[in-house]
């Protein structure tokens, strides 16, 4: 018995040490590459009840502001976005999220249709490391791995990040067990302004047809939504590039019609939304800044409200306190970023 207890203590110590070391060595994404921490942030939500769920790449987490949707329409929403999120990752993130809640609307940004193969290990990591362990994550990892990646390094991320031992910073120690959020319900705020100077022409592609696997996962997302009674909505955010080809758009229009799904290409209505590409983007048109995101969200919120008659929760005490705190934090951060921008501008002059 004594021996068993001793072995038990030793095992616990070993596991504790390994866990601690793993937590220390994993990147924290708190001051740089904030995108890396976004997928995990969702699990910290106190109230996982949202009317609208956005899942896709940077064109959702940079361009839609859940706070604006709340303030203007009382719509509660969350964005589970990650950089260069692949469509099968979006599918598995949807499956993962539906374990916690069942939103009324699911919004998918169709730029995710462009990649039919895994693209990069580092983007995979940012999309997958933050997911909680489940069979869903396992499937997501299996679908996403690059040829030289190993499944076991997703199971035990220490095997992937061990080489960070010589680049640890104070941030790694600070956030070893403590978590905090850097986004506003998945929205990554940017307040800089870098106007569009020219609109690039898309380079000619050999084949404009989206990959079969992309359609397969889009079908799966639509089917899953229908099964759960969720309304899928397809959007194309008004980012100037990556270039959105007419041929691609035609395929999405066709798909939406066939499946009776709402599809909105916001590039076509950018003027109507009021987006000014000289002031509303922080990176010459790839993504909107907070001003552009607020305009787009206000416009999209109205469509959602009018089309689907979503409940206005602004007077609902269950949501009021939580969302007021989020809103306060949002404006504090916005003011901070604007102040930084202005200080930089002054320093530049």
């Amino acid at each position: 018995m004594k021996k068993i207890i001793r072995i038990g203590i030793m095992l616990l110590l070993a596991l504790g040490l390994l866990y601690g070391v793993q937590q220390l060595l994993m990147p924290k994404y708190k001051s740089e590459i904030l995108e890396g921490s976004m997928i995990a942030e969702y699990y910290q939500e106190d109230l996982k009840e949202h009317d609208v769920l956005f899942i896709s790449d940077c064109e959702v987490y940079e361009n839609f502001s859940p706070i604006t949707l709340w303030e203007d329409y009382g719509i509660t929403s969350y964005i589970r976005g990650s950089a260069q999120q692949l469509i099968w990752q979006s599918y598995y993130l949807l499956e993962d999220t539906l374990k916690y809640e069942t939103p009324e609307i699911f919004v998918f940004n169709v730029l995710g249709m462009q990649y039919a193969e895994p693209q990069s290990e580092s983007y995979n990591r940012m999309s997958l490391d933050g997911m909680r362990w489940s069979m869903t994550k396992l499937h997501a990892v299996e679908a996403s791995m690059m040829p030289d990646e190993e499944l076991i390094s997703y199971l035990f991320p220490l095997l992937r990040y061990h080489s960070r031992w010589n680049e640890l910073t104070a941030e790694d120690w600070k956030y070893i067990f403590v978590k905090d959020t850097k986004t506003f319900n998945g929205y990554l705020m940017q307040a800089g302004v870098k106007p569009v100077t020219y609109v690039p022409e898309g380079r000619v592609l050999a084949d404009y047809q989206f990959g079969d696997i992309c359609y397969e996962y889009l079908d799966k997302m639509v089917a899953l939504c229908k099964e759960k009674g969720i309304i899928p909505v397809l959007v194309k955010a008004p980012s100037i590039y990556p270039y959105w080809y007419d041929e691609w758009d035609a395929q999405m229009v066709d798909y939406a019609q066939k499946n009776d799904i709402l599809y909105i290409n916001f590039l076509d209505v950018a003027e109507e939304i009021g987006i000014d590409y000289t002031t509303d983007t922080y990176d010459t048109g790839l993504h909107l800044n907070v001003y552009g995101a607020e305009k787009l969200s206000a416009y999209f919120g109205q469509i959602l409200q009018e089309t689907y008659q979503l409940t206005d929760h602004r007077q609902d005490p269950v949501y009021q306190k939580i969302w007021q705190d989020k809103t306060d934090a949002y404006y504090t951060e916005k003011a901070r970023l604007i102040a930084i921008e202005e200080a930089e501008k002054e320093a530049g002059q």
């Binding site: 001793r6 030793m10 110590l13 070993a14 040490l17 390994l18 070391v21 060595l25 290990e121 030289d148 990646e149 190993e150 076991i152 390094s153 220490l158 095997l159 992937r160 061990h162 080489s163 031992w165 010589n166």
Partner: protein, 529 residues
């Protein structure tokens, strides 16, 4: 399947699980199955080569065994009728048949090795000569080297020769011989086991012994530490120097000598530790292949302590047979007449030494680099042999031979000498090697190294500190080993000490190992041989 891959670790764990779950009589069969799977993973077609070697060796050894039995039976049954001379004649005739069988089998299997490993080297040399005479060239053969061919060919050769020499009877079961030939932990880089040693535990029934498994595991971890923390980190700097000859000459070549020696030691001994440790977990005892070689005081001693199983193989199956062969004895007799007793006696030994080192060199690889490397080793050994009287006279006049400082000098001298010869492993040809080695004397450039040059070798300051600490740890463990097994010493400190060492080593490898993304998967250096 790389030893350092997750797949291999999983493979070993699964094999262990099966090994101790099934009834003991199936244990060797499980090992054979695992070895075949392991081998087939390198290419299913490669199985043909190893199975051919197993089959031919089995047939030849069995037949030799039958002839030996028949001789014994015949002699004992006809002892009364036959004269001593007749018995001798009969024995010689039977021995001749056995020799014919043995030689045929050796030639066949060595032929496979030669064709696969040395064809392109031969063609390359023929083409170079043809080019000098503006003749046409021969196309290279497209043959992949089957995994471990040099090791298993040598292992089966020693088995067959030992059967011929009646050191042990032939193995009756071909599957058991197949296991001896293909035992998966040793197939890649040795040790080159002898049948009489390995067979004692390879086919036995083994109880699950926690202590043996833990000892084996500790040794495996120590091997991984040397391979992943030291060798695979050191290789970054080594390759930077080797691949950029225009930028790294002079002192960098000297640095390369040192770094490559450490890398090779960590890589090769690490691999052998993993091999012997895995075998120990299965309850199988393998011969040691190293005995702290960098503590050697002479090159002869070094070769007694480095890659021991290869050294003894060449000694037993090449050096001695040549030394005592009829032509050599004849040569010795004649040489004594012409050059006097002392030199005449040494000449056959030297000739056998040259042949042995030539064979050692070419066994390591089909290139002139390895041949020159082998012959340089031979040259140093012969020179030191010739100078022995001089050394003895020197020590009589200056009796410092037993002081610690002199011993340290001898160790350092041997290390530097071996390191210098090993540079031939690094550069792509002999000419370039000597050219780069020459820059040590013509283009030293210490200033360049100190003024930031060290920082361009691909290692950060943290890496360098880590390497120094890890090498120091290996050195300290080697010092401790001189007075007995380090694992036993740790065990004597109690279970918490065992646990702490185990855990620290494990976590140390996990954190500081040069594996995974950002590091190339480095095959063990000796795998190529």
């Amino acid at each position: 399947m790389l030893f350092t891959s997750y797949l291999f670790i999983g493979f070993v764990l699964l094999t262990l699980l099966l090994y101790y779950s099934f009834p003991k009589r199936f244990q060797w069969m499980i090992l054979l199955f695992a070895s075949m799977v392991f081998y087939a993973y390198s290419g299913i077609g490669n199985l043909i080569y190893i199975l051919t070697t197993v089959l031919t060796t089995y047939l030849a050894a069995t037949q030799i065994g039958r002839l030996q039995n028949r001789t014994e039976v015949y002699i004992s049954e006809h002892r009364q009728e036959l004269s001593r001379e007749e018995r001798k004649t009969y024995k010689a005739a039977m021995k001749k048949k056995q020799r014919l069988l043995m030689v045929s089998c050796l030639v066949f299997n060595l032929g496979i090795l030669a064709v696969i490993k040395y064809s392109n080297f031969t063609i390359d040399n023929i083409n170079k000569i043809a080019d000098m005479f503006h003749k046409g060239t021969i196309s290279f053969l497209d043959i992949a080297l089957p995994m471990g061919i040099s090791f298993y060919t040598f292992q089966t050769m020693s088995y067959l020769i030992d059967v011929y020499r009646a050191k042990h009877p032939p193995e009756k079961n071909i599957f058991r011989l197949a296991l001896f030939t293909s035992f998966f932990p040793q197939i890649i880089q040795g040790p080159i086991s002898r049948y009489e040693d390995l067979s004692q535990t390879l086919y036995g029934s083994h109880d699950r012994n926690g202590r043996e498994i833990m000892f084996g595991l500790q040794r495996v971890l120590w091997g991984f530490f040397k391979k992943l923390v030291i060798a695979d980190r050191m290789v970054i700097a080594v390759n930077t120097i080797i691949n950029n000859t225009d930028d790294y000459s002079g002192i960098y070549v000297f640095l390369l000598m040192i770094l490559y020696s450490i890398e090779l030691y960590a890589d090769f001994t690490g691999g052998i530790d993993i091999t012997i440790g895995i075998a120990q977990m299965f309850g199988i005892k393998m011969k040691e292949n190293f005995e702290r070689p960098y503590f050697s005081k002479s090159i002869t001693e070094f070769w007694r302590r480095w890659h021991i199983t290869m050294g003894t193989w060449f000694k037993d199956y090449i050096f001695y047979p040549i030394s005592v062969s009829q032509p050599m004895l004849k040569l010795s007799k004649n040489a004594r007449k012409w050059f006097g007793d002392a030199l005449g006696k040494r000449m056959p030994v030297y000739l056998a030494t040259i042949v042995t080192w030539f064979a050692t060199g070419i066994w390591h690889g089909a290139s002139w680099n390895f041949i020159v490397w082998g012959l340089l080793n031979c040259l140093v050994i012969m020179i030191s042999q010739e100078f022995t009287p001089l050394y003895e006279r020197f020590h009589r006049h200056f009796p410092y031979g037993n002081t610690t400082w002199y011993r340290a000098f001898q160790i350092l001298r041997t290390f530097l000498l071996m390191s210098a010869i090993r540079v031939l492993d690094c550069y792509r040809n002999v000419g370039l090697t000597f050219k780069m080695a020459g820059t040590i004397f013509t283009d030293w450039n210490l200033k360049g190294l100190l003024q930031g040059g060290w920082n361009t070798l691909g290692l950060t300051i943290a890496d360098i500190i880590l390497l120094c600490a890890a090498v120091l740890l290996v050195f300290m463990v080697s010092m401790l080993q001189r007075s007995g097994s380090v694992r036993v010493k740790i065990e004597q400190k109690g279970p918490y000490a065992v646990f702490a060492v185990f855990l620290l080593l494990f976590v140390g490898i996990l954190i500081f190992g040069a594996y995974g993304t950002g590091y190339d998967s480095n095959q063990f250096i000796y795998n190529q041989f």
